[in-house]
Amino acid sequence: MDAMRDWFEALLREATTVLVGDEVLLMNASAEDSDFARFSQARVRQVGSVEQRELEVELVRGRRHAGACLTLTGAPGEDGPRVRRTVERLRERLGALPEDPYLLYNEQARADPGAASSERVAPARLPAAAEAVEAIQALAAGADLVGLYAAGRLARGFGNSLGQRNWYAARTFSFDWSLYHSADKAVKCDYAGATWEPEQLARRMDEARRKLAVLGRPAHKVPPGRYRVALAPAAVGELLRLLSWGGFGLKAQRTKQSPLLRLVEGAERLDPRVRLVEDTRAGTSPNFQEQGYLKPEAVALVDGGRAAGALVSPRSAREFGVETNGASAAEAPEALAMAPGDLPPEGLLERLGTGVWVGNLHYLNYSDLPACRTTGMTRFATFWVEGGEIRAPLSVMRFDETIYRVFGANLVGLTADSETLLSSDTYQRRSTGSVQAPGALVEDFAFTL
């Protein structure tokens, strides 16, 4: 049996018993049992375990609603009374709150309780955390490894008093690490998923050690200017993550704050080969959101280089008079995928010829949001390339460039394969997000400092 799910079901049942009249209860759970092992210099810096259970309770009466988020113990006998008290407290608050014209939640279950219910329990094979720590240290022997291993069970659940239930559970691991040569010269790596295969980790560690050897060469410096660049999938992924910050949500678009507003309004376009999709089917996130709406398998956001759609939360649906497509309140992609192109990835260096191979980008932000001009830094393994061969590591460079040039006029091509980049974010809880990105070859990429 799934103890997290039993806990959630028990709290939902208990809270439902205290509803009065036409009150409706929505509940969202986020639970995880996580092990974290932090490494520096291939030694353990901090190691420990965290058990956390979070529950969002939302009480709805007519068009009034009030919500609270609680951290709970995981023991239904102890948490149940607290949830009941919270429902009563929210009922008191409803009296002081106005009606909400934009309230919208999934009421499908009134007619058919099973209609919007869903379940996704991913299979997993993980080692005990202490075994993973031992394996990592054994493979890192003699290297300067720094990073984080995070693993364990996690679950997300939605339920309402109308009978709808949605459950997502997984046991996952994420090992996000770097091998350092010296100063800021390093190779960034990751290994994440639900099936731990020691030989996979060993292969990735060997590959990192091989790249590390190149970083020992004297660093090459280039003056600010425009360069032909090959962006590795991880670097493209960083650009896509930045675009996810306000780029695709309907509210940001309708209130003129989206960095892609000019694309949305037809004043700009991207290269016709650019296709972006919120690909929930291929992603690793739950397929439901806080008000109980299911996410479609895919939502096209950019197609043929033109805006094709937006992520619409229930609230925005009500505000702007359109249908929701199951976006969360933040209307940010959780499984953004860029379609691959036709450049053979193994020939990318050769196609680059002379220029810069960018392994990773770092600390991106908008330097002119309406123009979708972004700035950020190269980081980790970034190399100067001549005649299709890596010559030397490149000292870190700042770029300042518009997305309309990078994925528009200056895009030479996208690689024929793409990588799934699982999010290693652990702010408050372990992320379930992902990005799929191909590599890209871009002309005249502006380095400024």
Binding site: R38, G48, R89, A96, V146, L369, R398, T448
Partner: protein, 477 residues
């Protein structure tokens, strides 16, 4: 809570060389009115504890929201297990250093408690502020918000430490977005930088009541403004941009865990090295920077850090000379140099690491008029809206919401899309003027991210306006 935990702690602490118990709770209420509509109001309550055990050369932690004796006992057993399994595998110098057992309490000053005003009245206050932001049809989105936090921490350890602290914080927010002719601009009340400890009296301290008309008018003014000029020139930064400049290019590079390499996989390293303390000229002689946990009402004031270490004011940079890093007692032990009490955790479920707390630039003797008066050609900028810096905290580029040209010592036309870039190691040496108390503001932000696993903490920055020379300034695309 401290008394309850103190009764339980001896029962749950395992037989080990060292054990600590850190309890942390927070209750939040966030209210916002956007375009006259109350956004879904949210309450949150979060509480739990972390037990840390050191034994036989290993250190481990376990965190749980079950703070009953049974729950803490399970966490202690798990932490002990990690300590034993990590023995022989850890970095050197992680055993908690001996010290006199700290004991004491801290409480945020509050003169007008959040709870003293009913919910409906707070919603009315926000409705009224929000309505005053809609001054022009070109304002297409506008909102007013308040985010209140009440928190408590307790720290106990087997060496006899006994600390309790309580906090109250308020984050006010006003925002107006103007749009016309394909151009969008935003103006806010200090970005996210107006956070302070206290109750509703914070609203007076940050000028919340009189701000909506100014925020709205400046949004429209920006819409019509020319772009920020491009070139190398003098730059005067207002306090609500200075806090970002201090944060990114002094605070983060001085964090001792970055210097020691712990953050290299995520937040990054530092251009500062251990041998630079006591000898390196960080900035001009006008630059005085302090770690100051004692400023009443500043966002990250406290009596003790999350390792229970008593906190006190220290100079980090004095007359431009780098003298001390931002490193807690464990990092100090590892590095062999003195630091400050800044081991902090974002919550009960994350272990303490070196963080900024209150990091302040001490005031000088120039009024704003005098700062501007010393500029022949330059730009004055307010309110951060874009930030990016390299992983060594050297090559930065920052953007501001609002700017004005400076010509012949006078503030001139408003300019938009204000950006500047530079290199930390050079930028602070170009500091040519530091504002006096009349320009000094106590500010702070709830959003500073760092650490693996990731942690978001609140940091305070108090600063005057400052003037820099020879800065690369530019506008939009």
């Amino acid at each position: 809570m401290l008394d309850t935990l103190a009764r339980v702690f001896p029962q749950v602490a395992p037989k080990a060389e060292f054990c600590s118990l850190r309890y942390q709770s927070e209750a939040n209420e966030a209210l916002a009115v956007r375009q006259g509509v109350l956004q879904p109001p949210r309450l949150s309550e979060d509480a739990g504890a972390m037990v840390t055990v050191a034994d036989g050369g290993g250190v481990g932690y376990a965190a749980t929201a079950d703070v009953s004796a049974a729950g803490l006992r399970r966490a202690a057993a798990r932490a002990l297990d990690w300590a034993r399994r990590s023995a022989g595998r850890t970095l050197p110098g992680l055993a908690p250093p001996a010290r006199p057992a700290p004991s004491g309490a801290f409480s945020s000053p509050v003169s007008e408690p959040w709870e003293s005003v009913p919910l409906a009245a707070k919603v009315d206050l926000l409705r009224e502020a929000c309505a005053r932001l809609k001054r022009d049809e070109r304002i297409v989105d506008w909102s007013a918000g308040l985010w209140h936090t009440r928190g408590q921490t307790c720290y106990l350890d087997t060496a006899g430490a006994r600390v309790q602290q309580s906090f109250a914080m308020l984050v006010p927010d006003l925002r107006a977005v103007a749009h016309a002719g394909g151009e969008t601009v935003s103006r806010s009340l200090g970005g996210h930088g107006m956070a302070r400890q206290g109750g509703l009296e914070v609203l007076d301290a940050v000028g919340f009541a009189r701000a909506p008309e100014r925020v709205a008018a400046e949004a429209v003014e920006l819409l019509l403004a020319a772009q920020c000029p491009t070139g190398t020139m003098d730059l005067v930064l207002a306090p609500d941009q200075m806090i970002l400049q201090i944060h990114e290019s002094i605070g983060h590079p001085l964090e001792l865990d970055r210097i020691l390499g712990d953050e290299r996989n995520y937040a990054g390293t530092s251009f500062v090295t251990l041998d630079m303390f006591g000898t390196y000229r960080y900035g001009s002689e006008l630059l005085d920077v302090t770690f100051d946990p004692d400023v009443p009402g500043q966002l990250a004031s406290y009596g003790f850090d999350d390792d229970g270490e008593p906190a006190r004011r220290e100079y980090l940079i004095r007359q431009g000379l780098l003298v001390r890093p931002l490193g807690g007692r464990l990092s100090q032990q590892r590095a062999g140099i003195p630091g400050v009490a800044n081991a902090r955790a974002s919550g009960w479920n994350r272990p303490p690491i070196d963080r900024m707390a209150n990091l302040n630039l001490e005031p000088g003797d120039l009024s704003l008029d005098a700062l501007v008066g010393g500029v022949e050609r330059g730009v004055y900028m307010e309110t951060n809206c874009s930030w990016s810096i390299d992983d060594s905290r050297n090559k930065f580029q920052f953007g501001c919401e609002f700017g004005r040209r400076i010509e012949d010592g006078r503030l001139g036309a408003v300019v938009k899309k204000c950006n500047y870039r530079g290199i930390s190691a050079e930028f602070w040496r170009g500091l040519t003027g530091v504002g006096d108390r009349s320009t000094f503001q106590v500010l702070g932000t709830p959003f500073c991210g760092k650490g693996e696993p990731n942690q978001l903490v609140r940091v305070g920055h108090a600063t005057p306006a400052c003037r820099f020379t020879g800065v690369s300034v530019f506008g939009g695309a």
